[in-house]
């Protein structure tokens, strides 16, 4: 199953990923991304791709 990875050094709290994939991602009180689950089920794949592509600082990657 593909997994999503977050680079916390890059994350700036823009939260576009949370809007794109709320089942997979959130941000904490400091504005850093939180992975709610690392494995991406098929049903969430399109939203995960969208989350990665709408991150302005490319902090998310998807490993097949």
């Amino acid at each position: 199953m593909p997994i999503i990875r977050a680079d916390l050094g890059r994350c700036e709290g823009y939260a576009n990923c949370v809007i794109a994939a709320p089942e997979l991602l959130d941000i904490d009180d400091q504005g850093s991304v939180v992975l709610l689950q690392q494995e991406i089920p098929n049903s969430e794949r399109s939203r995960a791709d969208s989350a990665a592509r709408t991150c302005p600082v490319s902090a998310l990657t998807i490993d097949e």
Binding site: E12, D49, R53
Partner: protein, 420 residues
């Protein structure tokens, strides 16, 4: 689907459209035509990390040649699209070549509004990588540190250039006929805090004052203001907005009116095979029943995604745009969502005046609905407002949600005296 999609424009809207087409399963050709010869790059860092030099240029890459090859995206860069022939479904390029398409996505963006003032040299605008590198040279290079920079325009670009120029040790002044920075977006009450931000970081401000003329040449410029005063400058930066790049579409039969007018999924009006995304596109907002252009990064990326879906899955749902923009100025991470000036700032949580600041201004309309929010160093509060605005939530719900986060409760403080 095996159609060939040609995307005209190589900035974020165009690149994200091309990438999303592949993600959505488009199997035919994807070609990006771009006027600039640089590989696709991202624009937000141009007024921040690339201007100060804290990032190497490659870090702003949106798509490398290897990325493009891996996604089977053909890049045709360094050549301008000159004409769109919708009946022949072809694009004529400035070098005379012709590119045939089944679908075209117009993503030609906007250009910096040129300076209405002319001097022999030393006046800059900032929109492209070349603009950025030229301005960076002027701000650093061998020029003695401390030589003054005058920035005309206190919007996002102007304010960020001010912060970058201060970081490079320059003396900086901002001039804007509006009473406060980013005044068209957030209004005078909250904008006043942004004047304080500039002053705390050593930027002289001249808000509510216009520019009469700029004279001289690079290193020795004089900026004459409408109040009769004069500012000396080595460099002048003019950041007074942008205009959509639609000139090449004249005669194309597309409906053009401050951009390419589109339906709620980005299809150009009365055109079956043409779409537009990003700064050049004026999409119908189904909620507001109006067409508007939104010159923000997130909107460009989302529209690219939305058009790719519309092309690959014609029954996909329309995109509901919600303005969202950020700006990094000194030690403030500013985030703005919605359209604040459709209401007034009825609730202020946290403190703009703390060091470090952490604050959220919630704007409500006359029915108490949340219409916009401005936050500083508080991404979680911004996210709460962004979700609520999308759902038609109230200011009261926004306050309750933001205040319910235990670590933030202590910072809660409403400021009823701020507005009458």
């Amino acid at each position: 689907m095996s159609d060939t999609v040609v995307v005209v424009g190589s900035s974020v809207a165009g690149v994200r459209t091309a990438q999303a087409l592949r993600n959505e399963g488009h199997d035919g050709g994807v070609i990006i035509v771009g006027e600039e010869s640089h590989l696709p790059y991202d624009k937000p860092p141009l007024s921040k990390q690339l201007l100060t030099g804290s990032w190497p240029v490659q870090r702003a890459s949106l798509m490398t040649a290897a990325d493009a090859a891996a996604a089977r995206i053909e890049l045709r860069l360094g050549v301008r699209a000159e004409q769109l022939d919708m009946f022949g479904r072809r694009i004529v390029l400035a070098n005379g070549e012709v590119v045939d398409y089944d679908r075209v996505v117009i993503a030609t963006g906007a250009s910096a509004r040129p300076s209405p003032w002319t001097a022999r040299s030393g006046i800059h605008v900032l929109r492209t990588l070349d603009d950025c590198l030229g301005l960076r040279q002027a701000l650093r290079a061998d020029s003695p540190v401390g030589r003054p920079v005058v920035i005309v325009g206190g919007g996002f670009v102007g304010a960020e250039v001010a912060a970058a120029a201060r970081a490079l040790g320059r003396e900086v002044s901002i001039v804007d006929p509006l009473p406060v920075p980013i005044g068209r977006v957030m209004g005078p009450e909250i904008g006043a805090h942004f004047i304080d931000l500039h002053h705390r970081h050593g930027v002289a401000t001249h808000f509510g004052v216009g520019v009469q003329a700029v004279e001289g040449s690079a290193g020795d410029l004089t900026v004459q203001l409408t109040d009769g005063s004069e500012l000396a400058a080595a460099t002048v930066v003019v950041g007074i907005g942008a205009t959509p790049n639609i000139g090449w579409l004249a005669g194309s039969a597309l409906l053009l009116d401050d951009g390419v007018v589109c339906d709620a999924q980005g299809r150009a009006i009365d055109a079956h095979s043409a779409y537009a995304v990003g700064d050049v596109a004026r999409w119908l907002d189904p909620a507001g029943r109006e067409c508007r252009r939104v010159e923000h990064w997130t909107n460009a990326a989302e529209q690219g995604q939305s058009v790719a879906q519309a092309i690959c899955h014609p029954d996909s749902r329309p995109h509901h745009p919600l303005e969202y923009v950020w700006s990094d100025q000194f030690d403030w991470k500013i985030q703005i969502v919605g359209r604040p000036l459709r209401g007034v700032p009825t609730e202020v949580l946290g403190q703009f005046t703390d060091h470090p600041a952490k604050a959220a201004a919630l704007y409500g309309d006359e029915d108490g609905l949340l219409v916009g929010a401005v936050t500083v160093n508080w991404p979680k509060a911004l996210l709460a407002c962004r979700r609520l605005i999308g759902l038609g939530g109230s200011v009261a719900a926004g306050r309750a949600q933001i205040s319910s986060s235990p670590r933030d409760r202590i910072a809660e403080k409403s400021a009823p005296g701020l507005i009458s």
